[in-house]
Symmetry: C2
Subunit: 251 residues, 2 copies
DNA sequence: TCACTTGTCTATTGAACTAGACAACTTACC
DNA sequence: GGTAAGTTGTCTAGTTCAATAGACAAGTGA
């Protein structure tokens, strides 16, 4: 019988790390291989039983690892057929009409936005300037995690005028969409005025929220949405998992 | 009763990572704090019960984390008194007479050398040149992990003339010291001829063997030891945990 | 002596991992 | 169309490890 032998000569020893579960080690191993291109997009992974044999572990352990890869959005599993690498990115087109749920739905996926936190705070100079307020004026701050087919795509901070949209969090939690939330305030249409794009890497916190490893690339997107009459409505600062999204700007 | 609540509001949630044990997260957290200097050398850590309360975990879990920190050589625990940060480094003086066990013993610690692997191989051009052999000549290669008070200090590869020292591995395993191993060959004295020092970072393999995190600094030390009559005896390539050792060269 | 610290013990619960079996599905081949 | 081989999905069962809970021993220091 195979048992965990800390100093033995088992063939899975090379990835046994104290305090880290086996399935996590195997998942990280495969993530690494996929990210460096040892498996192409659409390529089939070895069968679960073969992976199990290769690492010298039980098939259930491999299944747990593959489930993790699925949660990270790296693979898609088809019963009877196999597990396939999925490294194609969601095309996120940035234009005047930029709506997360519409982009995801158009790509044939299921959109989801979850409010992770909110508060009323005084506007910084930067935020006040964007929204046409005075520094220190109350603004509503929303922290939203967006996912496509349960895979986290971005985490975004959204600021709105605190007087006009003081119920924003409560409404968003119910309708689960910025567009529908704004409809409650009688705003049926709005457009993107500008978008600033930068890049950085995940820290431990972002990595957890986006289900990424640390030090993975992140697109930092700041934007301002305005009404048809050019009144500022909301401004955001989002972090997109660059492994899962490509921003497209047409000009 | 406190249970692991994946989406609850427990105060330990901020460090719960799927597939990584709690004690490991806490140990990594403290390592980070110690390395960044939030605790000075010799400073006492909070009591186990206080740490447990702070993270919202059981004291046993904290004890497991502290045991890990001890294994990494970051702290020393004294019964009845407390756990103290230990970030002072072993002074490893490089001179003509450089012997690991003597250095460690002189510092009041217990030296240990463990042979992790060995083989007979053809000498590379570099190694042959150092030992005064022809490329392709047989050399004995030893992989040795050295520790001070059970804390790994270095991993070293040592090459010797394969003809003259063909029993080197067997003897080393018994006497557990290069110096005593050479005595079996009638070599009672030898001296360091040259030492080359470089630096790099731990990869996953080195990190495991040295009980370090990945991307910690490593001193790369190559050297040649010769007999009193300048005959090459052995050459080494060692990797020292820079968090635990400082090399001292006097001139 | 007393308060506080680490060390050790027992017991319990849930997660991780192993083992084996079989169902459900896909694909290729006859 | 049917079959067989190969794949993922699900179930039961058992062992080991992680974490909790509580109690008490043993040591430190004022």
């Amino acid at each position: 019988m195979l048992t965990r032998t800390p100093r033995g000569s088992s063939n899975k020893n090379h990835l046994l790390v104290r305090g880290i579960t086996l399935w996590r080690c195997i998942a990280d191993d495969f993530e690494q291989m996929i990210l460096v291109g040892k498996y192409d997009n659409g390529e089939r992974l070895p069968a679960e039983s073969e992976i199990a044999a290769r690492y010298g572990v039980n098939r259930h352990t491999v299944r747990r690892a593959i489930a993790e890869l699925g949660a990270r959005g790296l693979v898609r599993t088809e019963r009877g057929s196999g597990t396939f690498v999925k490294t194609d990115k969601l095309d996120y087109r940035i234009g005047q009409r930029t709506r997360f749920s519409e982009i995801v739905a158009a790509a044939g996926h299921e959109a989801e936005g979850r409010l992770q936190g909110h508060r009323l705070e005084p506007a910084s100079e930067d935020i006040a300037g964007r929204l046409g307020l005075k520094p220190g004026d109350a603004v509503v701050r929303l922290e939203i995690v967006r996912a496509s087919d349960r895979v986290p795509i971005s985490i975004a901070t959204t600021w709105l005028d605190g007087q006009r949209f003081c119920e924003a969090a409560k409404i968003f939690r119910r309708v689960r969409s910025i567009t529908r939330m704004l409809e409650h305030y009688g705003i049926s249409t709005y457009r993107r005025k500008w978008t600033r794009i930068g890049a950085t890497f995940t820290d431990a916190v972002d990595a957890g929220r986006l289900r990424l490893s640390v030090h993975r690339p992140v697109l930092v997107v700041e934007s301002l949405d305005v009404s048809p009459t050019d009144e500022p409505i909301l401004t955001t600062r989002g972090r997109f998992a660059a492994d899962r999204v490509a921003l497209i700007v047409e000009s």
